[in-house]
């Protein structure tokens, strides 16, 4: 379980996040929604350690996490699928997947079959360069790469952005499968309302760097939630 309380974040002099209280449980998909520029991605960055938070606390399974670097967060079981996918364009698909071995003991340095079951297309493209894949394939690669790290918390930042519907559907299935497995907390930042609504257990709606409201998805009326999220 990942928990934050009063988390704040600054870029230089400007404050982006104003005290976020947030909980994500294993076996659940916690969705963060809201329009552009409200601090969703910044929140994920604060969690992943890519940009240090300026205040507040983060606890994972009850243990408080100090301010630490992204590689330490990765070792603690947090893996992320960032916006724009950020695969390594000049590495092959296999090499991209292998970068995830950094957090695993040497004996486990092999790509589990589960990855290819979830994303069969990657098996065919193992020796292609990551940069040569299409957007949808890159997205699958990025998710696969994050899964190999065997995370306790999985962060996904707009995985459907610029992706064709068939792949979106597939990503949806994967997320449902992972949720059913129940061994990781999934935090999903998403603007594609239908997609997010269909998957999420919990929802947090952000507005101008703060949580405007949150709760179980089932407790909201769909139309009300959509209106709240849109503009």
């Amino acid at each position: 379980m990942l928990e934050t309380s009063g988390l704040t974040l600054h870029y230089g002099g400007s404050q982006i996040l104003h005290g976020i209280d947030f909980v994500a449980k294993p076996g659940e998909i916690t969705c963060i929604m809201g329009p552009n520029g409200v601090g969703k991605t910044s929140f994920l960055k604060a969690l992943a350690g890519t940009h240090p938070r300026s205040g507040g606390s983060v606890t994972m399974n009850g243990a408080a996490l100090p301010l630490c670097r992204p590689q330490d967060m990765a070792r603690r079981g947090l893996s992320s699928v960032p916006q724009g996918r950020m695969i390594f364009p000049l590495l092959t698909v296999r090499e991209n997947l292998e970068t995830a071995f950094a957090v695993l003991p040497k004996a486990e340095h092999q790509i589990p079959d589960e990855v290819f079951t979830l994303f069969p297309i990657l098996k065919d493209f193992l020796s292609r360069r990551g940069g040569d894949l299409s957007g949808g394939q890159q997205q699958q690669l990025a998710i696969a790469r994050a899964l190999i790290m065997r995370p306790k918390v999985l962060l996904l930042d707009e995985p459907t952005e610029g992706i064709q519907p068939s792949v979106i559907q597939q990503i949806g299935h994967v997320l449902e499968y992972l949720k059913a497995k129940g061994d990781m907390a999934i935090i999903l930042v998403e603007q594609y309302f239908e997609f997010a609504y269909g998957l999420a257990d919990q929802v947090y709606v952000f507005r101008r760097g703060a949580v405007s409201f949150s709760g179980k998805v089932s407790s909201f009326d769909k139309a009300v939630l959509r209106a709240a999220v849109s503009v």
């Binding site: 002099g13 329009p35 552009n36 916006q83 610029g162 603007q191 309302f193 849109s230």
Partner: protein, 247 residues
């Protein structure tokens, strides 16, 4: 009404990725225009092209009554033609005082020799004073701009733009990182500026765009998707599907 800036059919690609795709756009001499669009729609690239930072692969850009082509001009030359640009992050010269920053931007000869022998006249100093007053920095003139708050830096940068006396102002996300009251001020400033010159605002925040109450251009994948009043574009099905929530 003849257009001040006329962009027609420009395209540009980076490493095979088409950032701008046959984009046409025009703006009148005293008009306020908002540009919205999802991430990667080409908003910043569009500004880069107009200000000469990026050279388009094809298309034409003309500016002013005599319709001078901006293509092939250096950034500095385009700026001297009368196009000002405000960046997302405030970029003021932090090591220098507010007054120096404003003097730097003040409209005057730009060549090294002229600058070397230039001395501020009383009228220049008065103008700086007026500008500083306009953005609420009148009592901060001697402070180093690095010591200003984030919002003040934004204001200083806007004042610098005014000092340049541009005929076209390109503003990239002016409200980012501002407090609600600062946003309010920025809105009214932009609206009043647009009475005497063309102002193009790139913004994410719909509330902010709504308050600007102007024509909106929606960019998507490097081309214009829709144009019109905010209400008009927010009813547009295409806009809704790519930008407002795909649902």
């Amino acid at each position: 009404m003849s257009a001040l800036l006329e962009v027609s059919g420009i395209s540009v690609s980076f490493d095979g990725f088409r950032a701008i795709n046959n984009l046409s756009f025009s703006i009148g001499p005293a008009e306020l225009r908002a540009i919205i669009g999802p991430n990667g729609a080409g908003k910043t690239t569009f500004m880069d092209i107009v200000t000469g930072k990026t050279r388009p692969d094809q298309g034409t850009i003309t500016f002013g009554e005599r319709a001078v082509s901006l293509l092939g001009m250096s950034e500095a030359r385009i700026a001297r033609e009368g196009i000002g640009r405000k960046f997302q992050r405030p970029t003021v010269f932090e090591d220098q005082s507010v007054q120096d920053n404003l003097l730097l931007a003040l409209k005057a000869a730009r060549s090294p020799w002229c600058v070397l022998i230039w001395k501020p006249k009383a009228s220049d100093l008065a103008r700086v004073q007026v500008l500083a007053h306009e953005v609420g920095l009148a009592d901060q003139l001697q402070r180093k701009s690095g010591e200003l708050s984030h919002g003040q830096k934004q204001w200083l940068e806007i004042a610098m733009l005014l000092a340049q006396e541009p005929r076209l102002l390109l503003v990239d996300e002016p409200a980012a990182g501002m407090t609600p009251s600062e946003r309010e001020q920025t809105t009214s400033l932009l609206v009043s500026l647009a009475k005497t010159r063309a102002v193009v605002v790139v913004e994410h925040d719909m509330d902010f765009v709504r308050r600007l109450n102007c024509r909106v251009t929606v960019l998507h994948e490097g081309a214009v998707l829709a144009e019109g009043s905010l209400d008009h574009v927010t009813r547009d099905q295409q806009v809704i599907s790519v930008y407002l929530g795909r649902g």
